[in-house]
């Protein structure tokens, strides 16, 4: 079995095969999504194309060309036909950025953080408070806000708040890091868990004495940055109308807009993460993870480096938080629960702890599983239950399936089983971490 697969891989990854396969995926995926925009398998083909592209041995320039074609042209066009896809990719990007940030803390520096979502909350609430009417409502009772209160800032301030989110989250990271640096391993895990809960409880409760977060009601509406000027939009509208079948609305454009924004953020996140990894700082983090005593004896300042890890990891979440608040136009404490932290950690470990392509893949896989595959599966079964379909061999009518066995209710159960099985059969993740080979050294051999 093993050799069968690796032989297959070898055969498929030589000569003209790779490019053929990638094109097959691209073309079949695009066309089938275009023709049946609601088909899950069509979308799965399209969405695995980047992964295939990543693994196949193809000239770098062609790779980049295909990648850009997919990202800039194909996906937005198909996405306007079914905005759900843009949402899926948006969430993939959001969680991938979170996973990359957490990967710095857990994967590179080896500091187990179970409250990572706190930094996400900091970024989100920063823009939520200032980009909404909340600043004008500081003294009103949550839920009883007058509707005519003015917005506090112009929506264009959003761009600044992405950076402010980065800064604030990094600062919070240091704030958390400072007192707990002496704490190690599982002790650190519980402290960060506590910290995450503290931030959530604060978001939930800071509606008094002054109403900063609007408590459990959450803050809404939050402004979005304005779209490009009408003249520019008109060009796009004309260009897209024939492809999509109707002139795209502003709402649809916003989906594309956030899609691109998320992609830019994830691209920056990847760049920052890889560059940090391949540097003195990244090496110091790995050294600390492997052996603290030896690292410090090599002159690595533990405090500074751990704080740097916390700050760097947190900053990713800060940026994404601001983006999230603007996209949703609503934030509430429910988004920042402990389970969300666990979710991001799961993505990191499923993907491959310490592996940048791994955690991105992990995030994408979990998002896809959570909001598409499992949902679709249970919808499909629900359709079956409403139809007259019968399971052939055992002659069981789907209609008679007990209501209590409704698969829609048991997504978490399936997810749990997947987690356990993954850990047993692929403990180092889907794409395990690999050390960078240094060319200079290779040359000498």
């Amino acid at each position: 079995m093993k050799t069968l697969f690796s032989d297959l891989y070898k055969k498929l990854n030589t000569g003209f095969w790779p490019i053929l396969i990638v094109f097959a995926f691209l073309v079949v995926g695009s066309i089938s999504v275009y023709l049946s925009p609601r088909s899950l398998s069509a979308f799965l083909i399209l969405i695995t194309t980047p992964l295939i592209l990543y693994f196949m041995k193809i000239n770098m320039k062609i790779k980049i060309f295909i990648g850009l074609l997919l990202i800039i042209v194909i996906l937005p066009v198909l996405g306007i036909r079914n905005i759900f896809y843009l949402e899926v990719i948006f969430q993939m990007a959001v969680f991938a950025a979170l996973a990359l940030g957490l990967n710095i803390v857990v994967g590179m520096a080896g500091l187990l953080d179970l409250g990572y979502v706190a930094f996400y909350a900091v970024g989100a609430y920063a823009w939520a408070i200032f980009g909404s009417k909340q600043m004008s409502l500081l003294h009103s009772i949550p839920g009883a806000a007058p509707a005519n209160a003015p917005f506090f800032l112009d929506p264009r301030w959003f761009w600044l708040f992405i950076f402010l989110g980065v800064g604030l989250a990094a600062f919070t990271g240091i704030l958390l890091g400072l007192p707990v640096l002496r704490v190690k391993g599982d002790y650190l895990a519980i402290v960060t868990l506590g910290f995450g809960e503290v931030v959530r409880v604060l978001a939930l409760n800071l509606d008094k004495p002054i109403n900063l977060t609007n408590g459990p009601q959450g803050i809404t509406p939050i402004q979005r940055p304005p779209l490009p000027p009408e003249a520019v939009m008109q060009v796009f509208r004309n260009l897209l109308t024939p492809l999509v079948g109707h002139p795209p609305t502003d709402a649809e454009f916003y989906n594309v807009f956030f899609y691109f924004l998320a992609l830019v953020i994830i691209a920056i996140a990847i760049l920052v993460a890889t560059r940090l990894e391949d540097s003195r700082i990244g090496r110091a983090w790995t050294a600390i993870r492997e052996d603290e005593t030896a690292a410090i004896a090599m002159g690595i300042p533990l405090v500074k480096m751990k704080l740097a890890a916390f700050a760097a990891g947190a900053s990713f979440a800060g940026a994404v938080g601001a983006l999230y608040a603007a996209n949703r136009t609503f934030v509430s404490p429910e988004t920042f629960s402990f389970l969300q932290s666990i979710g991001v950690l799961t993505m990191v470990i499923l993907g491959g702890l310490g592996s940048i392509p791994g955690v991105i893949f992990g995030a994408a896989a979990v998002v896809l599983l959570n909001i598409q595959v499992l949902q679709n599966f249970s919808l499909y079964l629900s359709e079956l239950r409403q139809s007259d379909a019968v399971i052939p061999i055992i002659n069981f009518a789907w209609k008679n399936l007990s209501n209590q066995l409704d698969p829609a209710k048991y997504q978490k159960l399936v997810f749990g089983i997947i987690l356990v099985l993954m850990m047993i059969f692929r403990p180092s993740g889907l794409i395990p971490a690999e050390r960078r080979k240094r060319e200079l050294v290779e040359d000498k051999e």
């Binding site: 697969f5 690796s6 891989y9 498929l12 396969i21 995926f25 079949v28 089938s32 049946s36 609601r38 088909s39 398998s41 069509a42 799965l44 083909i45 695995t48 992964l51 295939i52 693994f55 905005i83 759900f84 843009l86 949402e87 009772i141 949550p142 839920g143 009883a144 007058p146 509707a147 509606d207 408590g215 459990p216 009601q217 959450g218 809404t220 509406p221 709402a251 949703r328 136009t329 609503f330 509430s332 429910e334 988004t335 969300q340 959570n370 598409q372 949902q375 919808l379 629900s382 409403q386 209501n403 409704d406 829609a408 209710k409 048991y410 997504q411 978490k412 159960l413 794409i431 395990p432």
Partner: protein, 405 residues
């Protein structure tokens, strides 16, 4: 290792390519038959809040089964598309986009949590898809003035004052202790109650929010020390029942008060004697007890028969929301003389006058019930079986406050 993974993946994907091809043909075949109309539900079906979320879905499912016949008679294939929002905004919004992208879906029922409804309804609004909420009492849900967003329940800023009115005027309470569950619903209600109480000059001895569901000792102790005339609990019966029991056990003798979140026979099972001893317990609701509504009695019977358990809170509301959807689609289909558009359905929902389980449902210009009758129900039951012995002791007709200024 990666290589094997990749090879495996490619095999899988090639397999799914084949599947996709089959899928497309299946879809086209289906399109050749009856015209499909889908109605979505979205509520938490898994996780800790699924008890209520499943109730919404099952209520809607029952309604579709019982009331969908007319549409089927017109030659449509009417289907339910249940989505699980997992009580989290992320999933809710993603599902909303998925729902919106399914052009067969003409109307929707959901959500349980205002925190999920508010961001998700932005999507419904932009897509022009009508949604009827069976549970969201947060004012913001409708005060945004979206055509597509409606609800068959009251608002926090209405029923809380009704409860306060009862406490102050009818019970003559001088002091109150307010507890809420730290959800958008509970806290909203609690704040409005507090404002009303302060206006009337009632002494608010405590105002506590808690996410605790099991051990209320720490809250009960100071509560008993301050001995309020009334304890107002803003939350869901699930949590409240335990609280009532523990407070009573610890020696509290005054009256408990709640809102429509208490409206479940399970409350009696959880709290037992605590509901009738001392000053007893009462709650406000837009729906009278089952005994007052023969239709509701039949609903309980049918529901229990189909799902093997009595309906939880919001099941009836889920049923009514679906009823509204179906009535509106019928009306729109008749008017359009074929499968209606989403816009037509949304207009029809707003214009609906539907004879629901609990009352006749119509919507005002922002999607609220224009005036709702609020009943004060005194609980006489100490177990599930005797829930029907509860009595209406008061009722108020209160208009929706509208959009606010």
């Amino acid at each position: 290792m990666n290589k094997r993974l990749l090879a495996l993946l490619s095999v899988l994907v090639i397999a799914s390519m084949a599947l996709a091809a089959c899928g497309t043909t299946a879809a086209t075949e289906e399109a050749a038959g009856a015209v499909t109309i889908k109605i979505a539900t979205q509520s938490p079906l898994s996780g800790g809040q699924s008890l209520l979320g499943v109730a919404i879905k099952q209520g809607a499912e029952l309604a579709l089964e019982q009331l969908g016949g007319d549409l089927t008679g017109m030659g449509y294939d009417v289907q339910l598309a249940p989505y699980d929002d997992q009580a989290t905004p992320d999933v809710g919004v993603a599902n909303a986009k998925n729902i919106v992208a399914d052009t067969d879906i003409l109307c929707g029922v959901g959500h349980l949590n205002s925190g999920v409804m508010i961001p998700s309804s932005e999507e419904y609004h932009t897509a022009g898809l009508a949604f009827v909420s069976p549970a969201n009492t947060n004012p913001v849900v409708t005060t945004r003035g979206y055509l597509e967003v409606n609800r068959v329940v009251g608002r926090d800023d209405v029923q809380a004052p009704a409860a306060e009115e009862y406490a102050f005027t009818t019970l003559g309470a001088k002091s109150v202790y307010i507890i809420h569950d730290k959800t958008a619903y509970g806290q909203g209600v609690a704040e409005f109650f507090k404002a009303a109480a302060e206006e009337d000059g009632m002494e608010v001895l405590g105002f506590e929010g808690t996410e605790e569901t099991a051990n209320f000792d720490a809250i009960v102790t100071p509560l008993i020390a301050s001995n309020p005339d009334v304890v107002f609990f803003a939350g869901i019966y699930n949590q409240a029942g335990v609280f009532f029991k523990q407070a009573r056990d610890a020696g509290y003798e005054g009256t408990f008060l709640g809102t429509d979140g208490m409206d479940s026979s399970d409350l009696a099972d959880i709290a037992g004697d605590a509901l009738t001893s001392g000053g007893g317990m009462a709650y406000t609701t837009v729906a009278g007890p089952v005994s007052a509504y023969p239709k509701a009695a039949k609903f309980v019977e049918d529901y229990t028969a189909k799902f093997g358990a009595a309906p939880e809170a919001y099941a009836a509301q889920g049923y009514d929301s679906m009823g509204v959807c179906l009535a509106a689609i019928m009306a729109a289909a008749e008017a359009a003389g074929g499968k209606p558009t989403r816009a037509q359905v949304a207009e029809a929902v707003r214009a609906v006058s539907y004879d629901g389980l609990t009352s006749t449902i119509t919507f005002d210009e922002i999607g609220d019930l224009p005036t709702a009758k609020y009943f004060i129900i005194k609980v006489n039951a100490t177990s599930k079986d005797t829930w029907s012995t509860n009595e209406i002791i008061d009722s108020f007709d209160l208009p929706s406050p509208g959009k606010g200024e």
